[in-house]
Symmetry: C2
Subunit: 374 residues, 2 copies
Amino acid sequence: MRIGIMGGGQLARMMALAGHPLGLEFVFIDPAPDACARSLGEHKVIDWSAADLVSQLAGCDRVTFDFENVPAQSLETLAAHFDVRPSPKALEISQDRLAEKELCASLGIPVAPFQSVDSRPDLMAAMDGLGLPALLKTRRLGYDGKGQYRLVQAEDLEPAWQRLGEQALILEGWVDFDHECALTAVRDANGTVLFYPLTHTLHREGILRFALSGSPANVPWQKDAQEVVTQLMERLDYVGCLTVEFFVTAEGLVVNELAPRVHNSAHWTIEGAVCSQFENHLRALTDLPLGATRARGCALMINFIGQMPIKDMLALDGLSWHDYGKQARAGRKVGHATWLLDDFESLKDRVGELVAYLDPIDAQGLTGLIKAAG
Amino acid sequence: MRIGIMGGGQLARMMALAGHPLGLEFVFIDPAPDACARSLGEHKVIDWSAADLVSQLAGCDRVTFDFENVPAQSLETLAAHFDVRPSPKALEISQDRLAEKELCASLGIPVAPFQSVDSRPDLMAAMDGLGLPALLKTRRLGYDGKGQYRLVQAEDLEPAWQRLGEQALILEGWVDFDHECALTAVRDANGTVLFYPLTHTLHREGILRFALSGSPANVPWQKDAQEVVTQLMERLDYVGCLTVEFFVTAEGLVVNELAPRVHNSAHWTIEGAVCSQFENHLRALTDLPLGATRARGCALMINFIGQMPIKDMLALDGLSWHDYGKQARAGRKVGHATWLLDDFESLKDRVGELVAYLDPIDAQGLTGLIKAAG
């Protein structure tokens, strides 16, 4: 079988690494000549809205995507010729923060309070209604903290409007959370759903830094999170992996956002789960039996941002390396490592070994994460 | 870093799958246009003795090989321009059954009794000396049971000579063994050696069918096997993975043969060990710290010979699939699956679930293996 992927970044790359052993072949659509999945399949260096997209993907048995900002129109066009999974509808909703929140609200799923903002008066009214601090975000095309402005006082309105005001916006009320977590689930075309254990996540400057499976702090939230994800998957008639990011608050889980694809917070599943998110996404796409999602231990993932560190960290027993083969660039996700240990207690005992390799900011972040986890 | 591999078969393919996450890129030298590693790097469709081999591999930081029958002269030539690991010397010895046995004998390592055979009189003398049954083998270019003839009675001499007599031969005395096993070890350029647990192997018609890690029957032999492999690696100043296949006899371990590369009997390490043989081979080649070789449980590998079975076996919890993307052909290794369980007891309890998917001959083989294992 041949899988077409809109996007040729690290998620497409890791899908291909998981897919070749299943006997799958890949075509990547990505206008970047150096797209990092290029060496693992056929790379079409064309735009995602190219007029000949259908013919470029000729021969593909399934089409999927590795990022949210694929033009929904392109995916609709493709859906007339290919079996596109997850469906364009799921993508469209996740492309629009307002639609995403309205979907959750319609299902009774808690989200941050929000107001649609299309004008200065809208923004003033929303600030009055939701209070400060609040987050002004573009409805579309935001990722890794991009397209956001934090409003702390009334005077922030004007610079925020100058920065973002030309786009459709949403103002989100502040959510006071204890920590963040994410649930990844996979659903096949028959409606079978399997859940990975909740991942404890830590972001800095809007970018995921650490992801921890097996965090004792998350155990009480597994069931609630599964209920939320089940509702969303059923409503969207979803096929493939879906990740939902949550705030853990005193009042319970609050949905932050949805990612209708494989997701950075579940990279630990490559080593840390019986069957990885990448393989399960492909199993769901190609109608194979889903693989078991249970953890093989306690896994800690650390993202490498900007540039890859030197490889001496590989001396850590149980550490796996994932260099995406990308050029170094500030703020760019260029790789990650996963450290798999028997259980959280082992991680607590040994975390100093990893901290020794980290810069002071990451070292502090990791220490805080372990403390928050239990 | 860029790795040149002489050969583009499934071993090269699995090396590349393990190597991309380490940030490595690959060039495969293989005259077969459909070499199954081709989609995971640059494929040069040229002969292994091509005159322009050095320029075709230009830019490679290391050169290795995925099968024994690479012309030793080519590797010697390459070694003048590239860092070839393991060394051409290790390859040359493993290419010649006589040299291999003489090396072992010189180190005091038990091997089957043997005689070099270059003529009919040699063969008659060897049959007299070693007794029958015995195995007549080509000294070179044998694999998967090819180039062998089993001599049971004096009358077999003539047909055996007709079949194989044009090549340099070796006659091996019969070894009465309880079962077969294999040890894979990895050695880095500093001389650090790590050993995987012994693998219990089962062959049929000269081809490996099943490989089992965590076999209780092998535990008593781990130390002896490690001593043999250490001696060989030190003598050969070996860098990379080496597998030694053993007969387990009433008198102890007897070396059957050496494979100076990653090896089929250790495919289970992809899921079943902390760091796989493929990754460790590459770590040794590129001077990275070696990864831990301990098992993550009890792993059973089953080879798919001739054609891939249908994929319903993927419903087994903990089973991983490895389709090499090769055309079906009788006797050809086209893929394997690995079933990873917590321990041997779990495997014994659940083996019926796997047996249900097998044809009667494999089912019988597997049942026998589990019984022999403990």
